[in-house]
Amino acid sequence: MRVTRTFRTMSSLLLLAALAVPALSGVPTEQVKETTEKILEVVKDPALKGDDKAGERKRLIRVAADERFDWQEMARRSLGRHWRSLTDEEKEDFVALFSELIGHSYLAKIQGYTGEGVRYEDEKVDDKYGVVETTIVTSKGVDIPVLYRLKNKGAEGGALWLVYDVSIEGVSLVNNYRTQFKAILSKSSHDELVEKLKAKLPKDEECKTDDESSASADSQ
């Protein structure tokens, strides 16, 4: 396993150096790794430990995640058919809200990670779409399989692999939220869904939605 991974890392580096054409195998994994390592660095950095640094850590993790996660794509897929019925402003607001929710619920939890790191198991690429399979090694001796679905949004010949779904132990984040949102939208309106999402976010967080008149101006 380790031999394969080293070989793949080496070969993808060589390919990158040669300014290769589309479908560079290994590039999705490399880009996921880049982001994961950035985030883990923040988590493990001794200079960023402590409660007083919590805001800074959260910010840095969010910056790293923003480089790799395609929030728009995730938010759109989580709404399914309903997305098409929204106005542009509603779409924008929803994407911001959704990314805040994920950031708050998941990225914040990463800070508790004390394990041994991530293993990059496998990668599949088909034209613009890719899948990277990883295993998160926890300190409790449990291995958690995490799978990233990515789409190459780079310009012609370039490679910018962005995540549009994460599956943990086979449970897709986007699908899980989609089922929840669908259930809520079958009984209530889009605005009510938005209200429920907002209720989930802590009040002191920087709100990116435009219609939150109270928070956004002061939180800078």
Binding site: R76, R77, G80, R81, L101, S105, Y106, K109, K124, D126, Y129, G130, V131, K140, G141, D143, R149, K151, S167, E169, G170, V171, S172, N175, N176, Y177, R178, T179, Q180, F181, K182, A183, I184, L193, K196, L197, K200
Partner: protein, 255 residues
């Protein structure tokens, strides 16, 4: 006695088969990965995923039971598990979990074999041999640490899934939690395979042992349920969907 149990198990399976065909709309649980691994145009994706959710005809009942389980967790199971966790250090509790897991080897072994996964069955045998001896009655897991033999996650519900039985619809049992007709039959089947149920034939003792196992297991994952609740807009639906996706994943996952 055993033959009667086996016969009743088979007849239950058949009854469930017909019941599920009648009751539930079949959810699209194909044996091969439903939905491609690599996504096509989002338009196709939307149509395809619309069919993938599990049907929930008894949702109102399930929600009540979900609420019951929620209270049971916060009022009983969690306080007991937290208290227990303060008394026994984590490595010891992990040892206990390993012990119970080792004892339940026949469940995984038999189900691997039933699915034609002889390699997995063989690994389970090897794991049992190594962990029971070098692992001191199963408290430790040298089979994984030193040999890299990972535990296979297999149960009778998955075996039935492999043979084509769909989940049919969602059931949220009190205490036992999320399930469906197929996996419930699976639990019954595995009951006959788990040595704990033979060693502790006396019901109260067996119940005590099972409760201890549950408390110990919970003490090692305090916070997981809370995190899920916090991350979800509708925890009931989140759990239902996560269970469905996870079971699908386990059925398809063969090693």
């Amino acid at each position: 006695m055993k033959i009667l149990s086996a016969l009743s198990l088979i007849s239950i399976t058949w009854i469930v088969c017909f019941a599920t065909a009648a009751l539930g709309e079949e959810s699209e649980t194909e044996l091969v990965s439903s939905g491609s691994t690599l996504e096509e145009d989002p338009m196709d994706y939307e149509e395809e995923i619309e069919e993938d959710a599990i049907s929930d005809p008894i949702e109102s009942v399930n929600r009540v039971l979900f609420g019951f389980n929620d209270k049971l967790y916060f009022w009983v199971l969690k306080p007991v598990a937290v208290g227990y966790g303060k008394v026994l250090p984590e490595p010891a509790r992990r040892g206990v979990r390993n012990f119970f897991s080792n004892v339940a080897t026949p469940v995984r072994l038999v189900n691997c074999a039933l699915q034609g996964n002889l390699k997995g069955a063989g690994i389970e045998v090897s794991r049992f041999a190594v962990n029971t001896t070098a692992g001191v009655a199963g408290f430790s897991d040298p089979a994984q640490k030193h040999h890299g033999w990972k535990k296979r996650r297999e149960d009778f519900g998955q075996t039935l899934g492999r043979y084509g039985l769909g989940e049919a619809f969602y059931i949220n049992w009190p205490i036992l939690g999320p399930s469906n007709p197929r996996d419930t039959v699976g639990l019954v089947g595995d009951f006959f395979l788990d040595p704990v149920n033979y060693v502790f034939a006396h019901m109260p003792t067996r119940l005590g042992v099972k409760v201890y196992d549950k408390v110990n297991g919970t003490s090692l994952s305090i916070g997981a349920y809370e995190d899920l609740k916090e991350a979800s807009i509708d925890p009931y639906v989140a759990v239902r969907d996560a269970y469905h996706q996870h079971r699908q994943y386990l059925v398809e996952d063969i090693d």
